[in-house]
């Protein structure tokens, strides 16, 4: 069955792409996931890959190589040959590795096969808090500087960046308490150990729906389909608009100098896979916005994201090295 499918795909590939001297891929591909099993990146990778395998006519063997906020997986794929047989399944993190002083490799060293989807942030609060709007929250923080506790996930994480945006739009002083991830942070929020937290809609949607946390505002220029009732941050603070849209994203990369025909083959397979209705539905259900872009379009998105976020961190005093050092332009 597999052989027939593989042969069929190879035959089709040979017809469609005469530029490839030999049938490609010659063997199974390896996909290295930069986050652990069960996390957001892992779920996206494992849900998408079967559809891509069908389109590619080859197997992609997935491995989790978590650690170092994605630096280890990025390094591993970068060390592999540029033959398109080793794929990096990643999230936004490497785009901040330079300014955070973690590594010298980012997505500029890779070719974006597909930027699959992006997430949207939402600011949620403990249900016992009186706030009903972002303005009320900000007023309370201003009245009690350094008293209100914000859940966070460490430098460069979504809460940290959205906190920096808020601070840039309207100066606020909060206590940021870092947790091991969005899940543990939301748990602490429900236990009353922090007062509010910016998190991904994907992580918070079900807790909001159950009324266990209170949505304050979505970090997007307009309301999102998953949370149609929740006001966008720009309603109270139009200044947010210049950073948006912003959010975590998930994608697949190969080394930049991978041969063009191989890139094209992968781009095609991932574009078909990411358009599969089952996958599209999963993304919508998780509160992600499907992007399914590649090549120059994806590169432009990645550059803008890096520029906006790096300079935000620089202005918030959270960057260890200035984006200027790496030639990252101001947004």
């Amino acid at each position: 069955m597999l052989t027939r499918r593989t042969l069929g795909a190879l035959a089709a590939a040979a017809l469609a792409r005469p530029a490839l001297a030999q049938p490609w891929p010659p063997r199974d591909l390896t996909g290295i996931i930069m986050w652990g099993a069960g996390g957001a990146t892992d779920v996206v990778a494992r849900a998408l890959t079967p559809h891509v395998e069908a389109a590619l006519g080859a197997k992609i063997v997935l491995q989790n190589r978590p650690g170092g906020v994605g630096a280890i997986a990025t390094q591993a794929v970068h060390a592999a040959p540029a033959d398109g047989l080793t794929l990096l399944y990643g999230a936004e993190n490497p785009q901040l590795h330079k300014v955070l002083g973690l590594a010298q490799i980012d997505y500029a060293d890779f070719f974006p096969v597909n930027v699959i989807a992006r997430g949207v942030g939402v600011i949620v609060a403990n249900t016992s808090k009186p706030w009903t709007s972002l303005k009320a929250l900000v007023d309370d923080i201003t009245a009690n500087p350094g008293r209100v506790r914000m859940g966070a996930t460490g430098p460069g994480g979504l809460p940290h960046v959205i906190g920096a945006m808020l601070n840039a739009v309207t100066p606020v002083r909060v206590i940021a308490v870092p947790f091991d991830g969005e899940g543990p942070g939301l748990t602490a929020l429900q236990g009353g150990h922090v007062d509010f937290m910016p998190v991904g809609v994907a992580a918070a949607a079900e807790h909001i729906r159950a009324g266990r946390v209170k949505p304050i505002a979505v970090v997007n220029p307009e309301p999102v389909p998953t949370l149609p009732e929740v006001a966008p941050v720009t309603a109270d603070f139009p200044g947010f608009a210049r950073y948006l849209p912003w959010g975590p994203f998930y994608g697949v990369w190969v080394k930049r100098d991978t041969p063009a025909p191989v890139r094209a083959r992968l781009v095609e397979a991932f574009r078909t896979g990411a358009a599969n209705p089952a996958f599209v539905e999963l993304m919508a259900r998780n509160g992600n916005i499907l992007m399914n872009i590649s090549g120059d379009e994806a590169d432009a998105f990645l550059k803008r994201w890096q520029s906006v976020t790096s300079w935000l961190l620089q202005e918030a005093g959270a960057a260890r090295r200035s984006p200027e050092e790496f030639g990252i332009p101001r947004p």
Binding site: G38, G39, D42, R46, V69, R149, P178, H193, E206, R212
Partner: protein
């Protein structure tokens, strides 16, 4: 109550088979050092991607239950815990096997695991929402206090010298700090190496310090006659069971609570139960550390009770109780469900299906556990020339499988050689692993506590004084320390 869903996996042959086979596979996977339950369940998520939801969940619940139990097998027979939850089991299980009582030790652990598992399921079925609400009230400071409580275990794990135990625990804490600082992402002890940014997994250390070090120790006496095992009686006599029942029940209680806490799992539960057994048993037939039956019952009851405990916050709130349930939450996503607080309200059948399924998995554990005990006990009789190379191969494979990293394999081998040297001088590996598990928990919890109080330690202490949970934990710590002093044994 929807009893038809409780019985779903009992009546449907496919689900029944998935649960039973999952449990059997779990026992084997769990028994192989390094092949962890988390890993097995993660692999199954992609393997069962195209399956309907129920058989996938049934298989994973079986692997979870069987795997936690399976870790005790290699702990007893080879002195190599199959997973971190079985570290405590090796302390008295292996000496039992050395006395020729491997069969009896397996029998006891099987019954203790079964009882613990049942209590875990009962807690899940009867008290899940209430337990989950209490679990989320645990603040960072309470995790800090739990870690302190855990550190008092060093005394129980040190062997003959507390000083050497403290040294080993300190080494473990230091190793646990390698990698990115969890608060600031500052690289610590990485010396510019990208591979070290990810830290050193404590499983790699566990495999090295226990597995390789044990293999090397056995090589010292390659021709030693293997211990003849008395395998006539696997199921212990009724009187023995009744005598140990109260301890098994208390240990299961520890397991449920620690398992249900989102920040801790079966590994800490088992170690705490072992410590509890040491402190509460007045006159064991054999002293602890030389094959006390209580020393295998307590951790095994606790780690299997922690399975049910871990499902509590997962099913009621969509919050993972441990690493395995975190993977299960990902699996629910892939299968088109929305794990979260609404899961139990909108799909209550899933909750009752899981309860019935775990019950079945525990029965399968009992059946497979007792049926295979005699054959397994014979492993202790395998000549060393065959056993030692086999152990080394499994150690390498298991370590590589943690996160597909060759660096981890080198670390593991290095730890093995170091561990062998330490062992010759009377340093125990238990406190090292304890340090690696508790060190990062203490580090993060302490800093979270102080940060949340506005960098004011006094304010943090005042806040703790107003919390019932914190006061109970402080009282427990004070009581344990005072009692140790009053018995003249020194602290811990």
């Amino acid at each position: 109550m929807t009893p038809e869903h409780v019985l779903m996996s009992w009546l449907d042959p496919v689900l029944f088979a998935a649960t039973a086979l999952g449990t059997l596979a779990g026992i084997w996977i769990g028994a192989i050092p390094g092949l962890s339950v988390t890993m097995a369940v993660s692999i199954l998520v992609s393997f069962t991607f195209a399956w309907p939801l129920e058989p996938a969940l049934a298989l994973m619940a079986g692997v979870f239950t069987g795997g936690v139990y399976g870790g005790s097998r290699s702990a007893i027979l080879l002195n190599i815990p199959g997973g971190p939850a079985a570290i405590a089991t090796a302390l008295d299980g292996y000496p039992m096997a050395q006395r020729g009582e491997a069969g009896a030790a397996i029998g006891l652990t099987t019954l203790a695991s079964f009882l613990g598992g049942l209590i875990g399921v009962a807690a899940l079925a009867l008290g899940a929402p209430a337990i989950a609400e209490v679990a989320i009230l645990f603040a960072p400071r309470d995790y800090l206090l739990l870690a302190v409580l855990g550190l008092l275990l060093v005394g129980s794990l040190s062997g003959e010298s507390l000083a050497k135990g403290l040294f080993a625990a300190g080494l473990g804490v230091t190793l646990g700090l390698v990698g990115l600082d969890p608060m600031t992402a500052e690289p610590r002890f990485t010396y510019g190496s990208v591979e070290l940014l990810g830290g050193i997994p404590y499983i790699a250390a566990m495999i090295g310090f226990f597995g390789v070090a044990e293999a090397l120790s056995q090589l010292r006496l390659p021709d030693a006659e293997p211990i003849r095992q008395r395998i006539g009686r696997i199921v212990p006599p009724c009187a023995t069971l009744l005598r140990h029942l109260p301890l098994a029940l208390r240990s299961s209680g520890i397991g449920v609570v620690i398992g249900a806490l989102p920040g801790t799992g079966g590994d800490i539960a088992a170690l705490m139960a072992y410590d509890h057994a040491r402190r509460s048993t007045r006159a064991p037939a054999h002293p602890f550390g030389s094959g006390a039956e209580e020393g295998v019952i307590a951790p095994e009851a606790a780690n299997n009770a922690a399975v049910g405990g871990a499902y509590v916050p997962m099913l009621t709130l969509g919050i993972p109780g441990d690493a395995v349930t975190a993977v299960l939450i990902g699996a629910l996503f892939v299968h088109g469900l929305k794990p979260g607080p609404m899961l139990m309200i909108e799909t209550p059948h899933l909750f009752w299906f899981t309860v019935g399924n775990l019950l079945l998995a525990n029965l399968a554990l009992l059946a497979f556990g007792l049926a295979g005990a005699r054959a397994f006990a014979r492993i202790a009789e395998v000549p060393r020339a065959v056993l030692v190379p086999l152990i080394l191969v499994l150690c390498v494979v298991g370590t590589f499988a943690i996160r597909n990293s060759l660096t981890d394999v080198w670390w593991m081998l290095g730890f093995g050689i170091t561990g062998y040297g330490l062992r010759l001088y009377g340093f125990q590996p238990g406190p090292i692993i304890l340090g690696m598990i508790l060190g990062p928990l203490m580090d993060a919890s302490w800093r979270r506590t102080v940060i949340a109080a506005g960098d004011d330690v006094l304010a943090a202490a005042i806040e703790a004084a107003g919390s019932t949970i914190s006061l109970i934990l402080v009282a427990a710590i004070v009581l344990i320390v005072l009692r140790s002093f009053s018995r003249g044994k020194g602290p811990a």
